[in-house]
C-alpha cells in the first residue's frame, strides 16, 4: 500500500528507515498452496533469499512481508486477511503464481478468491509455479519500490503496430463436445485374461446378493447392489479379506434422476487381493440421497464420505460429521459437484 511506502520514505529519518526496511523484508510463513515449494527453493541453498536480506520467519507479528503462494481459497482468504491485520505496519504483499492472480488453472473454480481483493498487493509474479528467480525478482522490485517510491514492472513489452480489426459474426465454437443425454455406466464389462478374477466373481456371487457383478478390467470388479445392502456387502467383503476402502465416489446423473454411490474396496492383508479393486455401487434417488455410512465398519471411509457429503449433499447416515461442512468453506456454494451447478464458460475471443 502506498501509505506504507510513504511512511518508510518520509520524515527526517527517511533514509535510515528506507535502508533498514529495504534490506530487511522478512516474509511471513504463510503457505497458501503449492507455490510454497518454489518459495522454499528461493530461500533454500539453491538461491538463498537471505542473501538479499529476506529471511523467512515464523509469524506475522515479527515480519513485514506476505508472499501469497498461489491459490487463496474461500477458507484461506479469511486467514490471509487476519494475518495481514496482525502484521505491524509498514507491510508489503507479493503475490506469486497464476492461481493467486486471476486464478490460473482454477480461474472458473468455485472455491477461489483473488488475493488482490483481500489485501492490497504490491507485486504480482506470473508462473505456475514461478521460478525462484522470479520470486527474488519480485522482492528486488519491492526493494526498488521502497527506494524510489514508485512501483515498476520489471519488463517492458515493446509494441508492434497492428490495425484493429472487426470481430466476425460467427465466432469459432468451443472444441468441447458434451453429450446432452449422457448414458453413465460404471459397470461396462471388458474382456480380459484374468483367471483369478473369474474365480473371485464366482465367490462374490455366492456371498453377495448383488444385482450384477461385472469384470470391468484387469483387477477391477464392479458389484451393483441395492442401496440399503451396501453395509452388508461391505461386511461380507471384509470377511473375504478386503480390509480398507480406497475411494468413495458419487456420480450425479440428473437425466436419470439418480446418484451413483460407489465404494472401492481393496486389501492390504491378503496378497492375492492386493491389486483387486472391488467397486460396490448403488443407485440412489436424487431427491432422497441417503445411504448408510460405512465409517463404523471401515474407518478409512470416514473422511471420504464427509467429502462426498460436501460435494453432492448425499447423506451418509451414521457418519459423525454429516450435516456439517468438512472440506469446503462455510460460504462455499451448496453441493458444487452436482451437475446443475454450472461454471463459467471459456471465452476464446477478446
Amino acid at each position: 500500500m502506498d501509505e506504507f511506502i510513504d511512511f518508510v520514505r518520509g520524515g527526517p529519518l527517511g533514509p535510515i528507515k528506507k535502508w533498514g526496511t529495504r534490506w530487511s523484508l522478512w516474509p511471513v510463513h504463510l503457505v497458501t498452496a503449492c507455490c510454497g515449494a518454489e518459495l522454499a527453493h528461493a530461500f533454500a541453498c539453491g538461491y538463498d533469499g537471505e542473501r538479499i536480506g529476506a529471511l523467512n520467519y515464523g509469524i506475522a507479528r515479527q515480519t513485514n512481508l506476505i508472499i501469497v503462494e498461489g491459490a487463496i481459497t474461500r477458507k484461506m482468504a479469511r486467514v490471509l486477511r487476519v494475518t495481514w491485520e496482525q502484521m505491524p505496519d509498514p507491510k508489503f504483499v507479493i503475490v506469486m503464481g497464476a492461481c493467486g492472480l486471476e486464478g490460473g488453472l482454477f480461474w472458473n473454480g468455485y472455491h477461489l478468491v483473488k488475493p488482490s481483493d483481500v489485501v492490497p498487493v504490491d507485486f504480482f509474479i506470473p508462473g505456475c509455479p514461478p521460478t525462484p528467480e522470479a520470486l527474488l525478482r519480485g522482492i528486488r522490485q519491492l526493494q526498488d519500490k521502497i527506494v524510489t517510491g514508485e512501483a515498476k514492472t520489471s519488463a517492458t513489452f515493446s509494441e508492434i503496430m497492428l490495425e484493429q480489426g472487426r470481430k466476425p459474426r460467427v465466432l469459432p465454437k468451443s472444441p468441447k463436445k458434451v453429450s446432452k443425454a449422457p448414458a453413465v455406466l460404471v459397470n461396462v464389462p471388458k474382456q480380459v485374461e484374468w483367471e483369478f478374477g473369474e474365480k473371485l466373481v464366482e465367490e462374490l456371487k455366492a456371498k453377495i446378493d448383488a444385482k450384477s457383478i461385472t469384470i470391468t478390467g484387469k483387477n477391477r470388479i464392479a458389484v451393483k447392489v441395492e442401496r440399503d445392502y451396501i453395509p452388508k456387502a461391505a461386511l461380507k467383503l471384509r470377511d473375504m479379506g478386503f480390509d480398507h476402502v480406497k475411494n468413495v465416489n458419487v456420480v450425479d446423473v440428473p437425466n436419470e434422476d439418480k446418484f451413483i454411490v460407489e465404494y472401492h474396496f481393496s486389501s492390504y492383508s491378503v496378497k492375492e487381493l492386493m491389486p483387486v479393486v472391488v467397486n460396490v455401487f448403488a443407485d440412489v434417488p436424487r431427491d432422497e440421497p441417503e445411504v448408510k455410512s460405512l465409517a463404523k465398519i471401515f474407518p478409512s471411509a470416514d473422511y471420504l464420505e464427509r467429502e462426498m457429503h460436501d460435494f453432492f449433499g448425499v447423506v451418509f447416515e451414521g457418519n459423525p460429521w454429516t450435516g456439517r461442512k468438512f472440506l469446503l468453506a462455510p460460504d462455499a456454494p451448496e453441493y458444487p459437484l452436482r451437475k446443475d451447478f454450472k461454471l463459467e464458460k471459456e471465452v476464446y475471443v477478446r
Partner: protein
C-alpha cells in the same frame, strides 16, 4: 524386499552419531560445498526447451484458434486485427506450452524469460502487439551459471558471458494443409464454415433442388485462399470437412 531393522540407540552408537554429525558440520564449515546461485548478480542458464514467456510471430500465424482452444487456463484469447491473433493473459498463464506445441506453423515460440514482476494485474494482460517481441527485462547479472556434474561432486560453472534469452524458432514438421469437403452433397447449408473462415475461402451455393437425395446446397473451398487453419472443419456440424495435406 528390504526389511529395515529397528534403529539401535545404545550410548556408544549415539556418541558415534554425535561425532559424525558434528564432524560433518565442521567439515562443511571449513570447506563448504556451496551451491548458491546469486540470482540478481547471476542467472541460471536454462536449456532451449525451457518453458518461459511466449514470443509470437505474426507472419506465421494462420489464425487457427488452436492455441486459444487448447489453453487449459483460458489465458489465450484471440484478438481481431487484420486477422485473429492470440493475446496472452499472464495472470492466468501456467506455462504449460500446450499452445506452443499445438501451433501447426510454429508461430508461437518459447523464450528463456521467466523472471518478471508486474506491478498491476492489468499489465499482465498482454495483447498481440506486446508479445510479438521478446520482452526486455531488468537484468542485473554479470555472469551465467550452469550446473556441472561430475561423478564425485557437483558444482556450478560460472561463465562471464551472458546468456541470450531468445530461443531460435524450431521448424515444425507439420506439412501444409488445406481444407476440403469430403461429402459436398451432405451440406445442410448452415454457412457456419463460410462465416467462420477468416479468409473467406468457403462458398456455399444454393442449388436448384432437382437432384435426388441432395440437400440443395453445395460447398466449395477455394484452395488458393485457404490457409489450412481448420476452423471450418471444427465448426461443421455435419463433419464433412477435412484437412488434407498438400505438397511434399
Amino acid at each position: 524386499m528390504i526389511r529395515l531393522e529397528k534403529v539401535k540407540t545404545d550410548p556408544v552408537e549415539t556418541l558415534k552419531r554425535h561425532a559424525e554429525a558434528i564432524g560433518e558440520a565442521v567439515r562443511q564449515a571449513i570447506k563448504p560445498d556451496r551451491i548458491t546461485v546469486e540470482y540478481p548478480r547471476e542467472r541460471r542458464k536454462y536449456p532451449e526447451c525451457f518453458r518461459g514467456f511466449i514470443v509470437f510471430d505474426k507472419e506465421k500465424c494462420i489464425s487457427c484458434f488452436r492455441c486459444a482452444q487448447i489453453c487449459p487456463a483460458n489465458a489465450i484469447q484471440m484478438e481481431y486485427f487484420e486477422n485473429a491473433y492470440p493475446g496472452i493473459d499472464y495472470a492466468k498463464c501456467i506455462f504449460c506450452h500446450f499452445c506452443v506445441d499445438s501451433c501447426p506453423t510454429g508461430a508461437l515460440n518459447t523464450s528463456k524469460v521467466h523472471d518478471v514482476a508486474f506491478k498491476a494485474m492489468e499489465e499482465m494482460r498482454l495483447s498481440t502487439k506486446q508479445i510479438a517481441k521478446l520482452p526486455e527485462i531488468v537484468r542485473e547479472e554479470i555472469q551465467t551459471v550452469e550446473y556441472y556434474v561430475d561423478r564425485n561432486t557437483w558444482k556450478l560453472v560460472r561463465k562471464k558471458e551472458l546468456d541470450s534469452l531468445e530461443v531460435p524458432p524450431k521448424p515444425v514438421k507439420v506439412k501444409e494443409r488445406k481444407a476440403s469437403c469430403i461429402e459436398p452433397e451432405s451440406c445442410i447449408g448452415c454457412r457456419l464454415c463460410a462465416n467462420v473462415c477468416p479468409q473467406n475461402a468457403i462458398k456455399v451455393e444454393r442449388l436448384k433442388a432437382t437432384e435426388e437425395g441432395g440437400t440443395g446446397y453445395i460447398l466449395k473451398v477455394q484452395t488458393e485462399q485457404c490457409t489450412g487453419c481448420g476452423l471450418c472443419v471444427r465448426q461443421c456440424p455435419m463433419q464433412i470437412l477435412r484437412l488434407e495435406e498438400v505438397g511434399e
